[in-house]
Symmetry: D2
Subunit: 335 residues, 4 copies
């Protein structure tokens, strides 16, 4: 199966490398980026990609290409989904689809109308530790979920320039956790409540965002979830989930790069957590691309579909509104 | 120093035993209980308590007795605090002081007016694991606290008859966690928001309470806390705290009775958690009594004073109101 | 039941305190020590011991005393066992019974002849972590034991003066591990092989001993054990055991005083291990005395009997011989 | 750099895949196997290997090929090392070089004489957990090593047919641990002592081998190591090392595939260990090939050289002799 990649930035290259190395069912024919240059050519050559172009149309118009990876900037996602769908190509799109709910819905509809498959890049669903908790929940080992807890903390805040355009912590960071909460709960949220503070960097507050937030989520079943985010954990990437239910509790520990510890006069020291997102989620990115190929080739449902792209955006909108208005906000209030 | 104990129920006996065995600075002269019987006499004899009486007045009127432990039912706490204070005796009173804020305040004032020391029984402050986190926070090892997380889950719900009179989950169970949140944060809460559900037993709902609750707490500094409670964890007592701050994160693990594990075809199995509260907090009850004796004998401030008895009740009231009204409630709204 | 304690040194006082505080079935009538002084009198008063004497005969001749704790220096153990047996008293004796195998056997025989119970102070059998592994093995959870591993490391070497008279590392330190190996294996050793080095302090070598040793033990069943000892672990007391068998592996972790950890730029740090033996084995000493009282009062077999006192001494003798002769030594070669 | 692979069995294919996917500096031109068939052709095609041949000479005679991977049966290793050396090619050879010490020495000499690099496949040196302990030791964090402990247990014994020809547990299994002991100690063994038993399967005993063994190793510095092996751990692959020294102790835990645990009525259950060697050491095999390419391309010393191939064989010979003769055997006694 031949594919094209729209966007040759960091995430586009990660997917390209992983496909070249691990996903032999897919062959990357073309990579498109308006800023493609010699370095892009060298990259393409190294990973066996036949064509580099500045024009995404070269992918959309290529009859041989069956599937497209949309790795361009967020504001172009819905446009490329619609165009790829019209061109009859299966689609993988990075999250979020769009900040505008109308655009999100239109993009999903276009894929449905065209009968092409659409997958959204919530990569953490493919992480070995989070997946292990999910598998236990699915196997019924915790019984009915009652309480879901998600901690998600980054080593460093993004640049202030990014904070200003990202849509805020709920759209660019906690959106992963909104997806994770739904994924683990196996159902949809009905209400969220946000508490947020500026504790890491006052510049984040000046940019209109918070850097520390706790969101409580209520599901229709009465199950509750709580997510905490911080833009800065000095010890590195901190990613933990817990599902407590009627029959038990499934909980994972943060990921370390090895199991070795040092016992000395200071106590017992385990090594640093991951400091770099790409190192932390190396395996998850590979599994994600394999799942995408598998769904197309074996005609399965996409493991993260268009609605999975929509709901976290609804939750992010509700969480943002809750923070502003200082009250719980129902998902049904959004739009 | 001679002391008297008012109330010879379960908690009264636990304190009596611990004092007899571990706190040689105090001698229990009299234990009073309106239902004192032969079994009480036998208990007293076994632990070297000279007198058993049905009348608490025998303690209050005894000039030789310097300090009183109030271990009677909650509705009598404020009354006995006031009477003990008037009699010039130092006071240890089990939590909560009272459900009525007026009574709480009057009781605290009476001790202040009489110049006697008043300690409230928030025993978890003396637990080795929680104390170790507190000590790290106090030593500045996490920097400024940003996020505090407390999980507190009981092995079994109390009898429905108790649920009906206890004041509800926020007064009888989460009150410990409200105290712990303040203790770890080192400051007062300004606002709380409650999400609660009936997921464990519908009878709890019929009694007007919830059995699963998540409360978000906001402190004046902008620090946030989140507490989750469940009335039923099938795996036993689950008590964990975490303080995340600008310089690190202090976190404890649930307490197990030993470090042994079994590796077999099922995986690696660590033994059961504690199933009984008294086993889980054995050491904490001893440390609590030692701290009480130490504060009196060495004329130190009580480690848990009257205001420490008041604030968690305010938080419980606000959490209850938040649940009923479906909105965040400021502590300043209470009374 | 009234008892007497011969020897008011450190271990005598630990047992006295524990009995006074926790073992209400026994009453210490008399404590005897040739060096008894005002401090001994004060100690006795504090813990409710009626008599202090310089002469152990006052205990042996006291008809009211049913049991004796022998906590005097090792060279007097066998003498006092024999005299106590003749006086018809049940006996608890600290380990080791004696360095001389003839004396050990005579002491055991005297108790047998007199029909009194004899218990030897291998306190680690009563430790919660080691006991948990033992219980798993006894419950058949590891199947047939194949490999037993014991790590036992002290925070600091003893004074050189003690090394010179203690009989060496195999008699004063590894003897606990010889007992533990037999206890966990549930059978007797047939052969040992020793490798030893002087790596901690050359003065220990000058005193004729080693400070680092690994002993391999072969049991009749073909099961193998390996014990490693070091006189100095900079991180504190390190005590771990592991039993690997046909159906699984039971393993314990070293004991820490609490479960709290700090995550910071250095990694994740768990607190120091215990640095003091008495802190590490607090609970074990209490359980040991309770077991002694229980065996007498309820006429049960002693949990650590005279032969349990003999076999580790045989193993220590064989290990010492193996080190000297540079070859494996059969237990049957000893004496 | 073009390379050839001699031997297209399991290990040959693992290296071929890893090079094709991860080591872009090397291109596999030819793979040779006397049993090459259609399946080998398909494999070669899938991984971009240009030529498949039944004759290793096609590799040895190919001027374009700069390096050779010897992945054929053990009895052909030394022959192919010698021939590859004569052909001027750098060599990676699977362990062990040979069971015959003369052959091992001759092979090493041939590479030295020809001035080609020779690397031996002790893959565990490249494992993330073992490497982390090694790095701590190298960084001086444990001070001078005193005690090294290695546990290495397989999930299942190999077929009896293999046991009969493998040279026994010390040559086919513990040889990895002999290498690890040297690697961690940073020095050579001077003496070994073996205790071994047949506890897993009597057929292994009938084939002249043991299935459970403990070997004590003495280094010239006086440092001691102990290795335990079992052919069958019901819980899966168990691989742990520990280096205890004057300043601390570096210890790793067994590897699990994720960090998730389940707390339920049984306790806290961590998932199964790896059951398959290839899964357990996935990353190590990749790192090993990268290290091989790096040493050639950047003209560095091989990370596991010819002498690293010799010494573990000497230790295996001494351990075998020790088991047979029931006495410690000096390495200098071998040959």
């Amino acid at each position: 199966m031949k594919i094209g990649i729209i966007g040759a930035g960091r995430i586009g290259k990660v997917h390209a490398k992983n496909i070249a190395m691990f996903v032999r069912e897919m062959e990357i024919k073309t990579i498109a980026d308006p800023f493609a240059n010699e370095e892009t050519e060298a990259f393409a050559k190294q990973y066996g990609i036949a064509h580099v172009t500045k024009d995404a149309e070269d992918i959309l118009n290529d009859k041989e290409i069956e599937a497209v990876l949309i790795c361009s900037s967020t504001d172009t996602h819905s446009k490329y989904i619609i165009e790829s769908a019209r061109a009859g190509k299966h689609i993988f799109c990075e999250k979020p689809i769009d900040y505008d709910l109308g655009n999100v819905r239109q993009a999903i509809k276009s894929a449905d109308d065209a009968g092409v498959k659409l997958m959204i890049g919530f990569v953490r669903r493919f992480d070995h530790n989070h997946r292990a908790v999910y598998d236990m929940v699915q196997a019924g080992k915790v019984g009915t979920p009652h309480i879901i807890k998600i901690s998600s903390r980054d080593p460093e805040p993004p640049p202030i320039s990014y904070v200003k355009v990202s849509g805020g912590i709920f759209y660019d960071m906690m959106i992963h956790d909104f997806d994770m909460a739904r994924f683990l709960a196996g159902r949809e949220a009905v209400e969220v409540y946000t508490q947020g503070s500026v504790l890491v960097d006052p510049k984040i507050g000046e940019a209109g965002d918070v850097d520390t937030a706790i969101v409580t989520v209520r599901f229709a079943s009465g199950a509750l979830a709580v997510i905490d985010n911080s833009r800065k954990a000095v010890y590195g990437y901190d990613q933990r989930v817990e599902v407590f239910g009627s029959e038990g509790c499934s909980i994972n520990a943060n990921d370390l790069s090895h199991t070795a510890a040092l016992m000395n006069g200071e106590g017992t020291v385990h090594d640093h957590c991951y400091k770099v997102m790409w190192d932390r989620y190396t395996g998850a990115f590979v599994s994600e691309m394999k799942a995408f190929a598998d769904a197309i080739i074996n005609d399965k449902d996409m493991p993260v579909n268009g609605l999975d792209g929509l709901y976290p955006v609804l939750m992010a909108a509700a969480a943002t509104k809750s923070l502003k208005e200082g009250r719980p906000v129902k998902i049904s209030e959004i739009e």
